[in-house]
């Protein structure tokens, strides 16, 4: 992506902006050591923001985080002798705070959601700027500090609240960022109290230094979050690919069923009708040919049926795992017991993954493990579907060696789940899949023939 040079330029300009601001601070008598820490905090936001921006270029979150790197240094210009720099430094000193509030509220998707969040950001931007302007004009700092403390307390409520109202999928993404934000908020809140209550030295310096370390939590937490965000995005795209493939397989099976299978089945009946018409006494050669054709056709229909079943089992679409797992056991080459405590429906890709895991594990048990019995168990633990297939075979299976289970492990992982294979030599094999199902449930089909409107009537409905 061509914005690499842009990001480097922003980094260089931001660093220069920060260095110049620290020069003004030390020139005005600030402790060089504190200036160094202050510089590093600003650069941490800038660098963290730019790194995440590069990784996730379409998400505005990272532009805001990079901008905090600039905003952090604005207040340092307040002691400048140049009047415009001085005024700008004072009035815009809380740009970083406004951007921080925005950053925390737009993460992870880069949007301000809800009137409440938008209001808080607007109040922060207008209020902090206005109270700083008041300070510039009158020297009164209390209104700004009180507003800052109020906003900090509001954020201490709003930030954990985000975790509560977030979707389950977003919750994991939010956790590190929210933890980091709380650390920073406490540090910032304490620093404001230090100034409001005019806490004397040396405690004052210690607490202000603690704030500078505390605000480092946000860039760290958010950069960790950006990695998680990238992982999550990749996982969701894999899940979509699996879903699309499943949908395509269902369509193929349906087309086979409605098309070729119906025609061949009908042809089979037509052949048998012709054979009946011929009777047993006439044209024995033709009769033999028709019988042979019927047999061949029957074999073809069987093969097509196996193929369609392998592409996507219709029983899974129609009845879910509750109906499909016993069907698998019935067709298994070794006696198989199904213990299923699962009678609800899940997202089609979840059902398909569980079904194909069970199918493949049973096939392996029969083919490679020399097993004499197998069992399938399915249960729901919390928001996770747990499916396990056990056999009493020789064990020692190596899942990495070309087994179809590797592809299934990918399929399960794409749904955020995990496939495990335990196969100690002599101890049988257990294949277990755990698949999260939270939010993926489908309402049970409620088609009731008695409730539907009567359709087309039979043509000749009389005896």
């Amino acid at each position: 992506m061509g914005s690499g040079a842009l990001l480097v330029a922003i980094g260089v300009i931001g660093t220069a902006f920060g260095l110049a601001s620290e020069a003004i601070q030390t020139g005005a008598g600030a402790d060089p050591q504190r200036s160094l820490v202050d510089f590093m905090v600003g650069v941490a936001y800038l660098a963290g923001g730019l790194v995440a921006w590069r990784r996730d270029p379409l998400n505005p979150t990272w532009r805001v985080m990079s901008a905090i790197g600039f905003g952090w240094f604005v207040g340092n210009y307040a002691p400048a002798a140049q009047p415009l720099l001085h005024a700008g430094g004072v009035v815009l000193a809380d740009t970083d705070a406004v951007l921080l509030i925005a950053l925390v509220l737009i993460y992870p998707h880069g949007r301000l959601e809800g009137t409440l969040h938008r209001t808080v950001v607007a109040v922060a931007a207008v209020g902090l700027t206005a109270t700083n302007a008041l300070f510039l004009a009158t020297g009164a700092s209390t209104p700004n500090l009180v507003l800052g403390l109020t906003l900090t307390l509001a954020m201490l409520i709003l930030v954990p609240r985000r975790l509560v109202i977030a979707s389950a999928a977003d919750r994991t993404l939010l956790a590190p960022a929210i933890f980091a934000t709380l650390v920073t908020l406490v540090a910032v809140g304490v620093a404001i109290l230090v100034q409001l209550l005019r806490i004397p030295e040396p405690l004052r310096s210690t607490l202000l230094a603690a704030r500078d370390v505390g605000v480092l939590a946000i860039p760290i937490g958010f950069v960790v979050g950006s990695f998680q965000l990238a992982d999550e995005r990749l996982r969701r795209s894999r899940a979509r690919i699996v879903e699309a493939a499943d949908a395509e397989r269902r369509r193929l099976e349906r087309d086979l069923h409605d098309g070729a299978q119906q025609r061949l089945v009908t042809l089979s009946l037509a052949l048998r009708s012709a054979r009946r018409d011929l009777g047993d006494d006439r044209a024995p050669d033709v009769a033999r040919a028709l019988d042979a054709a019927s047999d061949e056709l029957k074999a073809g229909i069987e093969e097509l049926r196996e193929l369609a079943q392998g592409i996507h089992p219709a029983v899974l679409t129609e009845t879910g795992l509750a109906g499909a797992l016993p069907g698998l056991a019935d067709r298994s080459a070794i006696p198989t017991v199904v213990t299923s405590a699962v009678d609800r429906r899940f997202a089609p890709s979840v059902e398909a993954a569980a079904y194909f895991v069970a199918s493949e594990a049973l096939a392996n048990a029969a083919k490679h493990a020399a097993a004499s019995h197998a069992s399938i168990t399915a249960e729901l633990r919390g928001g996770t579907l747990v499916l396990a297939v056990r056999d009493d075979g020789q064990g020692g299976a190596d899942p990495s060696r070309g087994s179809g289970l590797v592809g299934l492990a990918d399929r399960v992982a794409a749904l955020g789940g995990e496939l495990r294979i335990e196969s100690a030599p002599g101890a049988g094999t257990t294949v277990s899949a755990t698949i999260p199902v939270v939010g993926s449930g489908l309402p049970r089909s409620s088609t009731d023939p008695g409730a539907t409107i009567i359709g087309e009537h039979a043509h000749d409905a009389h005896r």
Binding site: I453, A458, D460
Partner: protein
């Protein structure tokens, strides 16, 4: 006999074959709702019922017929195999299942125990 299937070609061939095999086909229906109406209207002795119907499935129709007190003997059929349906077949009031390509007068008589 009533034939319930949404594929016209199958209904036609099944009807031709079963009539040759001595059944009197007194009606055809293309979906579950039409099947319920037809059973009540023409009172067939046997219903050849496809499992995959446009508005519902054959199992539900069979259950519905049983709950309505119909005396019709239900024979389920499908172009899919019986294996996939075994558990539901065991629980169904239907007399049994015959794969579509195996449908014949004799297969139905064997299944329902008619002479």
């Amino acid at each position: 006999m009533l034939i319930v299937d949404d594929h016209a070609a199958f209904r036609r061939q099944a009807r031709a074959l079963l009539e040759r095999d001595g059944f009197t086909v007194i009606g055809e229906a293309i979906d579950g709702a039409a099947a319920l109406a037809a059973v009540q209207a023409v009172r067939p002795e046997v219903v050849l019922l496809d499992i995959g119907l446009p508005d519902t499935d054959g199992f539900r129709v069979a259950e519905r017929l049983a709950s309505l007190g119909s005396s019709a003997i239900v024979v389920l059929t499908s172009s899919r195999g019986a294996d996939a349906y075994r558990t539901r077949l065991d629980a169904s009031p239907a007399a049994g299942f015959i794969a579509k390509e195996d449908v014949s007068g004799r297969a139905i008589r064997d299944l329902i125990g008619l002479a």
